[in-house]
Subunit: 673 residues, 2 copies
Amino acid sequence: MVTMGAALLAATSALAQNSATATSPDGDVQVSVSIDGDGRAAYAVNRKGKAILAPSKLGFLLTDAVKIDRRLSITGQETRDFDENWTQPWGEWKTIRNRYRELKVHFKETTALARVFSVTFRLYDDGVGFRYEFPEQPNLAHANIADELTEFAFASDGIAWWKPAFLWNREEYLYNKTPLSAVSNADTPITIKLADGTHVALHEAALVDYSGMAVSRTEGTTLRAALHPGAGEPKVQKKGAWTTPWRSLIIADDAAGVYHSHLMLNLNEPNKLGDVSWIKPGKFAGVWWNMIKGEWSWARGPKHGATNENVKRYIDFASANKIPHLLVEGWNIGWDGDWFGNGYDMDFAKPTEDFDVDMLVAYGKKKGVRLIGHHETGGAATHYEKQFDTAFKFAADHDYMVVKTGYVTDAGQMEREDADGKKYREWHQGQWMVNHQLRVVETAARYKIGIDSHEPVKGTGLHRTYPNWVAREGMRGMEYNAWPGKNPPEHEANVVFTRMLEGPMDFTPGILSLKGSDDSDLLSTIAKQLALYVVIYSPVQMVADTPENYAKYPGPLKFIRDVPTDWQETRVLNAEIGDFVTIARKERGGENWYIGAVGDEEARTLSFKLDFLNPGTSYVAEIYRDGDEADYRTEKRHSIVIESKTLRNTDSLTLQVAPGGGFAIRLVPAKGK
Amino acid sequence: MVTMGAALLAATSALAQNSATATSPDGDVQVSVSIDGDGRAAYAVNRKGKAILAPSKLGFLLTDAVKIDRRLSITGQETRDFDENWTQPWGEWKTIRNRYRELKVHFKETTALARVFSVTFRLYDDGVGFRYEFPEQPNLAHANIADELTEFAFASDGIAWWKPAFLWNREEYLYNKTPLSAVSNADTPITIKLADGTHVALHEAALVDYSGMAVSRTEGTTLRAALHPGAGEPKVQKKGAWTTPWRSLIIADDAAGVYHSHLMLNLNEPNKLGDVSWIKPGKFAGVWWNMIKGEWSWARGPKHGATNENVKRYIDFASANKIPHLLVEGWNIGWDGDWFGNGYDMDFAKPTEDFDVDMLVAYGKKKGVRLIGHHETGGAATHYEKQFDTAFKFAADHDYMVVKTGYVTDAGQMEREDADGKKYREWHQGQWMVNHQLRVVETAARYKIGIDSHEPVKGTGLHRTYPNWVAREGMRGMEYNAWPGKNPPEHEANVVFTRMLEGPMDFTPGILSLKGSDDSDLLSTIAKQLALYVVIYSPVQMVADTPENYAKYPGPLKFIRDVPTDWQETRVLNAEIGDFVTIARKERGGENWYIGAVGDEEARTLSFKLDFLNPGTSYVAEIYRDGDEADYRTEKRHSIVIESKTLRNTDSLTLQVAPGGGFAIRLVPAKGK
């Protein structure tokens, strides 16, 4: 039998009048909220008169009470306008405008339960964010959420760039490019190009005390929220008054517009940490690539990488190249056994015998290089929490500005221990880990330390609220180029319009040797490695290759030495997702501009205007471009041309990008005109 | 960082030799089991040398222990052959041959946990079934299963017929027809036609004390098990020794071959009930269609359907047409309030005042008609269990052969109450409901009563083990033709090769009036309604229209009166999934054959040989076919030709099928010869 009886259909007329609507400040984006004949609430999104989302249902499945879904009525609505400018302590833009119209719609069940909630929509000129807000109430004292029923019913098909959700390797999958109507289960951000060229990026903002949202295609072009699991418990557990994270849709005319949006940051709360001047954006070298390549080990023994000798040599390299930080992995006790998914031996206050931390910190101080700490938990999250204070006190005592964390274990294998010592297997994006990650960041902040999370919870713009959350991984970074199954040439042109919408990524660029493990070749040219310092944003950007390798590339190394990691403003000059992207950024607190471009496996020509430069000023352009025969498939991948030109804001530039290539440009105002 | 360290890669050589293989009795189907470099177990399936499944992973995610996935070794293997014939007490075939080769592979973790399990593969000439078997063991005393990691990695793409899983309306969705590579989350059976025409049906057999398996597409053409949820608990909870249901793949050259397979039944245990001669296949009328159409009500009041007067009239109709049973819905107390998803008023031993059960049972007995009971729980499953004995004693005391159950509530809204009165929201296909449904069937068996489950757990061949589980719904049946959004003409040609693989369906055919609610027209011809009695199998087949309507169609009604519901053998004469199917069935315990054919929205000609008839016998064929102008889109949907022919097994037949049409044939050996 069908589940809809005639009884419910009778409700139609009574509820049919329920509706609410609002438009963005510029009038382009419109949200309409309605209630159908069964009392189901839905919202729809239009832009410039075109339907982006058809009516999309709202609601929740609970594990121990009737779902919140049908038999709803709208009991009220309010709108308000907001407009402010705020400053990022660090970022891709210094000043961010936060201008939106807010529509708050109040819902109440028409049944005896009479549960109430509101949905607040924030309409921006370039998208929409909305969240559920539940007040404390007797009939929902505890909300044990089985899943969220929020739909994203796209009104038309399109091309989707997406990563599969819930698989063993977590966020570390290449992007699929398929019709939206062929998506299965995807993590967000998922970016969609509709038939008319409109680009939509679906994600979430301010993920706090909730489970990360993946999306599952139900039918046709309709996606539905699919929360990451709890460990044999409701996916989300709340009590009293609570809200969901913001479900966010960036909507723009093109790929560049998606990247230019500040919606993710604006949907987050302002800085809660106050003065964060102790976070100083900068590059870092690392005792790292040789481990990734398998030449050195994290574990102690003959191949141990984190030795006094190695670290001193890396400090010398960093110092000579004005690189203010040095990451050292494998510095602590705990790596010797089978730590993968089993980090119970990890001690984050106990260096190995061959790592004299006090001597090395002093040596670095003399040379202007600070160490970066590393806390690899091997998935033993509770074990890590027990060490929080000793671990971060150790880091602070040794003047670390940043600690890199790691959670190397498969999806669904994160270990939590409750007060009684019972163990649970959590998911990296589940509610408990979302809270754990924030505990790490808040603890670190108390010690004035920044966090660079690997195997993290996905980024949702929380670095606005916690500016010490300087970077994270959460995607296939450079390390994959050390191993079989390397990142394809199009990878970064996908990442810019998907993963990078989450916030800074510790991608670890700059492998000028273009060599991975077993002497394998990266699928990249040298010029592309330089371009990544502009194209991929992080306030803490790695200089990832070894000093020995950099010594062979003094010309290209100059760009890495020069390029900053903090910006006044950013412009995407041209882009097609997965094909190419050119980005220009202006140095924060300076007049220099930097341009980076990456392509895919095709050779192509990229042209762009320089009209963003200062009128009347002439600039010396230091151009690092692919050699004419450069090609990631041949030894010519090493072919790079470094040349200089004088350019003005009335000029345009046209440059060749080799297969697997790119280019990097530094523009410096010419002395005395 | 990637989750695979060098440490694990080192395991490769040590494990690489692990493998096992076996072939079906005829050698066509081959299974190969292997262990990869990370110690992950996989199985692959070939047929006639062609890869059907590429290596597909095995394993489990647990909520409170490390997953069973990597670091496995094969510690042993055994094969055995089996061949027997067994008899169905009722069914589409009387005699079933169960012939397979079994390969049992023993696995053990190479880690300290050293957990062990076996996977038993049963290789049939037309497919494969396999299940996991866990012995009792100290390191897995309790298995709290978060999900099953079993993959079905199809080696090539194909066309898939599938229903979405985990949506509010449970199994009641139309079939999607998409590339396999565009499936998202699907309930089983899912049937796939590969590029070379090979048909594969993926499902499960013997679903007992476990959660129903849906499949989720991970990437490309790989599906992975996705178990139906628990109510904020592990999806499956086991202790001691346990096994999974059989994961089953029917593999055949064509659609007909899929239907002809006995693999589903053979993977189930033999009859546990002993003598079930008290189950007598037969048709039933129903005080029902007028309620579905909204003309009568289940609730008491002026429109109440289950009145003495109505029921007596329906008994008279059934008696006059040799229909041995009559379903009466709305006969009991509990329907007056808002019972949808809230069946707490339902009392299955308390008839309404206007339903004199003793009088009606006596009246029926005199006329040779037994009543069929109806237990609509409205999703209050525990409330139903508390009434089991009174409810089934009531049914037995009133000589019911069958009880129809109902669980009308949305997915994830089934209500369970624990001993402390705490309530949980279960899923129709979750472990608890799987066990509940079997408790219903076992309780009914003690009272010698059959069960026809609506809003059921999907069928997995358990009617072999519990022959009183005579039918179930679990798909969009005829009722949808009463409402807006009617079943399309292709529906039944989809259902035969998907839902019907589960076992008997209470589809409720025979709406000769071709009229639904508000005088709406079915998308069917009259001849197709007759064909459904042959095409859709159930041992208890409804005669679903009203006596008043049947009175208008004496000619077609004769076929319904004649057609049996129990068969000696069955042959699919021709078929394309979703387009057309012709089925011939021989009456059990008789010499008559019946043929039914249904098409889709297209007009077409169907031809077939009669070589299955008895050589040397001539048969009188009573043919019920679409009139030459018949069309489901016009009033000509009522056009039917009833004609007679004499035919022999050397003859062929060619018949026209109208848009939305079909035909039905009764073949009776001619007297004297």
